[in-house]
């Protein structure tokens, strides 16, 4: 755990402790405010999932991050802890193809159901044609 000046706490976690720490943040640290969840594609070093939660009363900002192994796309869900994780994880699945295990309704949210590929992956070219317009 390391503190970054003026940007709260950042905690880097192994994938297995993602949910466990999420519960700790919510119950023990009082981080009830779910701000956002997203990912970064580090190419051959795998995908990284980030989640920012806050304790508004104590002005505590906590960024959780976990790195998935290269080629791996499964990450545990946080939806049972935060209802806000529902749409954010769906967006993350839509854009990066990260499968959130345990999410009750994991389907694409911004793109259509028949979209191929995950646009925010680094190997997805900007000019990739979409099926009906190929």
């Amino acid at each position: 755990m390391d503190a970054i000046a003026d940007d709260g706490l950042t905690v880097t976690l192994p994938r297995e402790r993602w949910q466990e720490f999420g519960r700790f943040a919510r119950e023990e640290l009082g981080c009830r405010y779910f701000n956002w969840l997203s990912a970064v594609d580090w190419k051959d070093q795998g995908l990284e999932v980030l989640c920012r939660v806050e304790n508004l009363d104590a002005a505590l900002v906590l960024t959780m991050r976990t790195r998935l192994a290269a080629g791996e796309t499964a990450c545990p869900t946080l939806t049972h802890l935060y209802r806000g994780a529902d749409w954010m994880e769906r967006e993350c699945y839509d854009m990066f193809g990260i499968v959130f295990e345990g999410h009750p309704d994991l389907r694409r949210i911004l793109l259509s159901e028949d979209w191929e590929g995950y646009p925010l992956r680094k190997d997805y070219a900007v000019d990739t044609p979409f099926a009906p317009y190929r």
Binding site: Y33, R83, L111
Partner: protein
């Protein structure tokens, strides 16, 4: 739609308790954009909502990775096009934070004036269209709409004098602002806010004393304090649910610590509470505009000399998240820089996206007509939801 959704469409019967699936949108007039809700009804009562978004998706985050730091701010305004000033500000603040660019005090004050005027303009549009949605109850409803649009036009005229544009401004740039206030502009802004301040009393007289308005908004669409935090709503929604959270207070940016203003909080969490919060915000924004104009320092408006090529602004390796208080709540931008002229990764935290995510939790149990009132009180802008 996946299989499971399409299969349970209609269960027709005459027993009186059959369920009906109804489609609302994406071209429904009350959606103020393109938004589809699949409502499951029992009679007039909504029992489940499936919100379908993404009709306006342009993948701004991928665009941000392909455009340089100099090119992107003018595109940033197209996320939340009703409050373009604050979305630009979110992007340039994030770049300034990672790149450690100084912003001169005059530019900081000009940004505050622009952001607060934008909040007034955005709230005007929200109030007008929301009242139009609930039209029948308000004696036609178009009255408030036309008044609000008139006031919004005055603010847009001020923006036109400042930037030359009325909707998408390109006012902010990394290290300051692109334009300085033209001579005599502050006097016109003062006249505008004086005029609007008097008009807000009129809106309140029209709405607060209207029994139909109160019936349609009080106790409707209640967001509990707990739910508001868990879903991550922000702006007037979370303040209407009893949480005093305002980015301008929690993490002052752009000299907001210099100004004296009140963060309104209501505890009821219903549509009426959100309306009350926004009405107070109108007046607080006017207060901040006056203070900023009074204290507007002299000096340069940008710390960065003009560039000849768009690739010349480079940001050192690093990452950062910056948030600003937009008209709809926390607008944030997370940027990862690899040292090049473009961000490696850019994420928008759209206030409308998180605010809209609360709909499936609060709509069930209400009548179909209330769906319109609730959605209006959330004030989503679909450019920002879909990005």
């Amino acid at each position: 739609m996946p299989e499971t959704q399409t299969k349970q469409v209609v269960e027709v019967g005459y027993g009186g308790n059959e369920r009906l699936m109804m489609n609302m949108g994406p071209q429904h007039p009350s959606s103020h954009g393109v938004f589809r809700m699949i409502l499951t009804l029992e009679g007039e009562t909504v029992v489940a909502v499936d919100a379908v978004i993404g009709y306006l998706h342009r993948c701004h985050e991928k665009l941000g990775e392909t455009l340089t730091y100099v090119q992107y701010p003018s595109i940033a305004s197209k996320t939340d096009y009703v409050a373009a000033m604050t979305s630009e500000l979110a992007y340039v603040s994030a770049v300034e934070k990672i790149g450690k660019f100084e912003v001169p005090r005059r530019a900081q004050y000009l940004r505050v004036v622009a952001a607060e005027l934008q909040r007034i303009a955005s709230h005007c549009l929200w109030l007008g269209t929301w009242c139009l949605d609930m039209g029948g109850a308000l004696g036609g409803g178009a009255t408030v709409f036309l008044y609000c649009i008139r006031e919004r036009e005055m603010v847009l005229d001020r923006f036109e004098e400042l930037t030359g544009a009325r909707l998408l401004y390109g006012f902010h740039q990394i290290g300051g602002t692109r334009y300085d206030a033209p001579p005599g502009w502050d006097k016109k802004v003062r006249e505008t806010v004086d005029f609007i301040e008097a008009r807000i009393d009129e809106y309140e007289a029209m709405l607060d004393d209207n029994t139909f308005f109160r019936v349609r908004t009080q106790g409707v669409g209640v967001i509990s304090r707990e739910l508001a935090q868990e879903v991550g709503v922000s702006g007037p929604l979370i303040r209407g649910s009893g949480v005093s959270y305002d980015v301008r207070r929690a993490e002052p940016y752009s000299s907001y610590q210099d100004f004296d203003f009140v963060v309104p909080v209501e505890t009821a969490g219903d549509c009426y509470a959100r309306y009350r919060v926004r009405m107070v915000e109108f007046r607080q924004s006017i207060r901040i505009v006056r203070q900023a104009l009074d204290g507007l320092p002299e000096g340069p408006i940008s710390s960065r000399p003009g560039v000849k090529s768009v690739g010349q602004v480079r940001v050192p390796k690093g990452e950062g998240y910056t948030r600003v208080e937009g008209a709809r709540g926390e607008v944030g931008c997370y940027i990862v820089s690899d040292g090049g002229p473009k961000p490696y990764r850019m994420k928008w935290r759209g206030a409308s996206f998180s605010n809209l995510a609360v709909l499936p939790h609060i709509v069930p149990g209400h009548k179909v007509a209330d769906v319109v009132a609730i959605m209006g009180s959330v004030d989503p802008v679909f450019g920002e939801v879909d990005r």
